[in-house]
Every structure is written in structure tokens, then in C-alpha cells.
């Protein structure tokens, strides 16, 4: 039995001798050399994902003003941020639509600008119009503020996303008889197309299905900078049914992540407009998996053909809150661009970028190879049993 520790792997990373491969590369290495040899050789497997993650946002601090203000309402480029926290702190959510947007009054709405775009623009160093009002207090007398800022004018800017990086995800189809505009894209009637949203074999939580290495304090690639897993994400559901290989057959695990926006690169954080649905944010995340033993390495060798996603009807069942799972399909099949469903061939398309996921896994690999990025040992692993609640499942 091979055993490695975080300390040993970090020592190798510091010396530049750690062997790092991506979650794609490990598949062939393990097939050629076997699990034991591959475990001996490989120290870290890097993963990556890049897709729309609505449950994202950022805490911003604007510095105190002269005279001081306790902001009640805050807008950035006319997108409302939440000001119900301390004086010059605010939280901007990715899914907040710009004020005055007609939304779906003329369906399907375009949703041209929102919180996700503000976050991208901040990271890109663009100028943002800040507006705030306040009711005024003895200690914070200023009642109105309006100025142009960039990220450099902010005291603090950190992204804090309550739910990112779903372990697995639904494949969207539309069983109704009209075109629908969803967060899974434009779905044509009578199941004429199917959209999926996962990096499959490259996806972080797919490669560590029982969270044996990922937990609070795991250092990650977040939006082009260094971030951390902060907590299990909202709706983290480890008890979802799993395949024989332990891979969840539905969404299952999620991550709550945090990271300094001033380090980030807008290539990996993109504001998006989803026709008929709203605004959101595409986030790039990469998680390194330390190869502590053979079991952990074996999990990272998972292939698209062994990962199955539920096909869900977004036309009738999903919106009604009914059980919407009406089929199952592997990512290997989805990636061909065509699947057979209910006796007919239908076109498939991804909503998450596989090439960006590859780029993120490769970038994280480079960082580790260049000794720029050390592994963070989690202080508590993600829960594997929801019933026990919280993170205290140890």
C-alpha cells in the first residue's frame, strides 16, 4: 500500500520534483502502467471546469469616505448590490439584473448587463460607476455618493460563491411543444436538442467522488487566481444515487469557494446574458488532487464513458417541481454531438467549455510544476453524508 502525505508532496513541489498530470493525462498513464506504478509516480492530478455558475458573487469594500457614509442601497453600473452589511461593504450577486432592464416583458428578454458583467468588468480593470444612498446617522452623516471606481480603488474585493462546481449535472431537453429559454440554453420542442453542462472526466468533484481530499481549506485555481474551498456548497447532496464506480448519477456535491479578485484574470471570469433567463457568471475553477494512495489515484482515472448524467425535461416536469429525470446518458455519448433519445437521434451541445477546462487544468499543472502553488491540506473534508448535517461528519 502506497501512502503519501500533503507535507511530502508539498516538499516535492517546492523542490520542483513533483510529478503533476491532468485528469485527462492520468487516464492513459494508469492504463499503460497500472494503478500501483502510476500512484508511485504521480503526486498531483489537476482538474478543471469552466461554466455558468449562478450562485456566485463578490464582497467589496469601497474605503470610508469623507464625511463617512453607511451605504443603504448600492449600485454598480446600475446593478444593485446588497448593502445590508457594514458601512462601506456590499455584496454583488452574479444573477442581479441591471435596474431598468425590461427582463422578460418582451419574452425572451436579452438581459444585456448584470452582476456577472460587473464582476468581469472589475476584474478586467474597467471603470465602474458607483452610486450609493444612505439615511444618515450621527456617525455616518453622508447620504449620497456617486463616483467612478476601478478594482484598484477598492480596499477589498473577494469573490465568495455559495455554490459552484457541481459534481455532475442534468442534461436539459424540452418535452413541451414550444421552444423554451432556460438556464440550460434554448431548448427546442419535442426534445429536438439536448444541452449538458459539465467538464465530465476533467471536472473537479468527479475525480474525487467521495471527497477524500477536497474540503475546507483546499487551495484551488479560482478565476485565474489562487482561491480556496470555503465550505460545502449550498445544496451539497452527497447522498444522491451513485454508479458502481461511485460516480453520482445526479448533481450531488457542490463547492463554496472564495478568492481574491485582485489576483483574477477576466479570461476566466465572464459575465453572461442568458436569453429569456437572466444574467450570470462563467467561472473557471481548477482543483488539484493529491495522490495520497492508490484508491485516490484510481478515482482520477474516471473516463467520460463511465460518467452518466440524468436527462431532464425542462419543458414540463422541471418547472412544475416534479421529478424530471427521464433518461440517462454518458458524457462520451454527449460529446459526440448526437445521442439517441426516445427512438430518435437528437443533437447535443455543451454549455460549459471543455477547452477552457483543459486550459485551467493545464495552467494549474504549470503553477505546481513551477513551485508557485502548494497544496492546501483541508481542515475538514466535505461531508459524505448529508443526514449528519454541517461539516461534522468525521
Amino acid at each position: 500500500m502506497i501512502k503519501k502525505t500533503y507535507e511530502e508532496i508539498n516538499e516535492k513541489i517546492k523542490k520542483g520534483t513533483a510529478v503533476v498530470v491532468t485528469a485527462e493525462e492520468v487516464i492513459d498513464i494508469a492504463a499503460e502502467q497500472g494503478i500501483r506504478k502510476a500512484t508511485e509516480k504521480i503526486d498531483v492530478v489537476t482538474t478543471g471546469t469552466f461554466g455558468i455558475m449562478c450562485s456566485s458573487g463578490a464582497f467589496l469594500n469601497f474605503w470610508h469616505t469623507k464625511p463617512k457614509i453607511k451605504m443603504t442601497h448600492v449600485w454598480l453600473n446600475d446593478v444593485a448590490a446588497y448593502g445590508g452589511i457594514a458601512a462601506v461593504d456590499a455584496y454583488i450577486g452574479a444573477a442581479e439584473v441591471a435596474e431598468g432592464d425590461p427582463c422578460n416583458n418582451n419574452h425572451p428578454g436579452h438581459f444585456r448587463y448584470g452582476g456577472g458583467h460587473v464582476i468581469e468588468d472589475l476584474i478586467a480593470g474597467k471603470e465602474i460607476r458607483l452610486r450609493a444612498d444612505a439615511y444618515g446617522t450621527d456617525c455616518y452623516p453622508l447620504r449620497k455618493l456617486e463616483k467612478t471606481i476601478t478594482i484598484n480603488d477598492l480596499r477589498d474585493a473577494f469573490m465568495f460563491n455559495p455554490r459552484n462546481s457541481y459534481q455532475n449535472y442534468n442534461v436539459g431537453v424540452n418535452c413541451s411543444d414550444k421552444t423554451i429559454y432556460t438556464y440550460m440554453g434554448i431548448l427546442k420542442p419535442h426534445c429536438a436538442n439536448a444541452h449538458y453542462s459539465s467538464a465530465g472526466q476533467l471536472s473537479p468533484l468527479i475525480n474525487d467522488p467521495y471527497y477524500k481530499t477536497i474540503g475546507i481549506g483546499t487551495r484551488i485555481f479560482l478565476g485565474g487566481g489562487e482561491g480556496y474551498v470555503a465550505w460545502p456548497g449550498t445544496q451539497h447532496a452527497p447522498n444522491d444515487p451513485r454508479s458502481e464506480k461511485g460516480i453520482p448519477l445526479g448533481g450531488a456535491g457542490t463547492l463554496s469557494v472564495i478568492g481574491d479578485m485582485k489576483q483574477m484574470n477576466s479570461r476566466y471570469v465572464r459575465g453572461v446574458s442568458i436569453t429569456g433567463y437572466g444574467v450570470s457568471l462563467m467561472v473557471g475553477i481548477g482543483v488539484p488532487i493529491p495522490i495520497l494512495d492508490e484508491e485516490i489515484l484510481e478515482y482520477t482515472t474516471i473516463k467520460d464513458e463511465d460518467i452518466f448524467a440524468p436527462i431532464c425535461d425542462y419543458g414540463i416536469l422541471y418547472p412544475a417541481g416534479e421529478k424530471c429525470d427521464i433518461g440517462s446518458v454518458s458524457y462520451a455519448e454527449l460529446k459526440t454531438g448526437e445521442i439517441e433519445f426516445q427512438g430518435k437521434k437528437i443533437r447535443t451541445a455543451p454549455l460549459s467549455s471543455y477547452t477552457m477546462a483543459q486550459e485551467i487544468a493545464a495552467t494549474l499543472k504549470d503553477w505546481i510544476n513551477q513551485s508557485k502553488f502548494l497544496l492546501g491540506q483541508p481542515s475538514q473534508l466535505l461531508p459524505t453524508d448529508e443526514k449528519r448535517g454541517g461539516v461534522n461528519n468525521g
Binding site: 455558468i52 439536448a194 442568458i274 447535443t348
Partner: protein, 137 residues
């Protein structure tokens, strides 16, 4: 002479909007037009998007005729832009594109655009979350 099919964008000024140019293309130049989209109002300017099939020589003479008559003719592909740098290579446009002008190259999984196949249905413009496809007509 080889048979060709090309997609063109034709712009009418108010002076030439009454001219039955499609008829002339059929009768005088033996071209087969397939109109994809048109917005032409009397006494007003307008545009016509169509594919033209026929012998290359006839196609060139037909286009010259349109230009002589004061119409602007451009290859449609010049009017549609897919900005590779803005594109995140997600692929959300590819299953809704009816003509496979936008497709995914496999196994690399990157998005490719072939303007020659585009039929200007605008589905990609609705489907693209980052506005990487733009149509200027």
C-alpha cells in the same frame, strides 16, 4: 464552368427598391436564388439575404449587373462576425444552429464558424451567452 452556390447580402437604396432584380437574376443570368431573409419597403431602403446557385461565370455577371444598377452586394459572411477571442468555446450555439455553420471540432471540442453555411436565422445570437456572434444588417 463550375457550378457554385454563394450567400449574398444585397442592400437596396430607395431609388432602386422597385427593381425586380431577382427575376432578372433568374431570367438573364440563369441563377437560382433562394431567399433567406428580406426586408424591403417601397420608397425606402431594404436588404435581401439569399443564396445564389449557378455557373460561376453567370454568378459573376449577375453580381456585376446588380452593382451596375446601384445595389450594394456583399458576401454574407462579411456581415456576420464570430469573434474567436470573445467566444469561450462553450458550444451553446451549436445544437441550435440549423445549418451547422457553428459547430464543434472533435475531439478538440473547440467551436468553429463557417460563414458560408450561415442562413442568418439569428439563433446563435440568442444562444451565445457572451455575445461572440454579431450580425450587421
Amino acid at each position: 464552368m463550375a457550378n457554385i452556390t454563394k450567400s449574398v447580402f444585397v442592400k437596396f437604396s430607395p431609388e432602386v427598391v422597385d427593381m425586380p432584380v431577382v427575376y432578372r437574376l433568374v431570367k438573364d443570368f440563369r441563377l437560382i436564388p433562394n431567399i433567406i431573409k428580406a426586408d424591403i419597403n417601397p420608397q425606402n431602403q431594404g436588404y435581401l439575404v439569399m443564396t445564389l446557385s449557378g455557373e460561376e461565370d453567370d454568378y459573376c455577371r449577375g453580381v456585376d449587373y446588380l452593382k451596375e444598377k446601384g445595389l450594394e452586394v456583399e458576401a454574407l459572411v462579411d456581415r456576420i462576425t464570430w469573434d474567436e477571442k470573445t467566444c469561450t468555446q462553450c458550444g451553446a450555439c451549436t445544437a441550435v444552429c440549423p445549418s451547422s455553420a457553428l459547430s464543434i471540432k472533435r475531439p478538440q471540442m473547440n467551436v468553429e464558424f463557417d460563414g458560408g453555411k450561415c442562413i442568418v436565422c439569428n439563433m446563435c445570437i440568442q444562444a451565445c451567452p457572451v455575445g461572440a456572434v454579431k450580425l450587421d444588417i
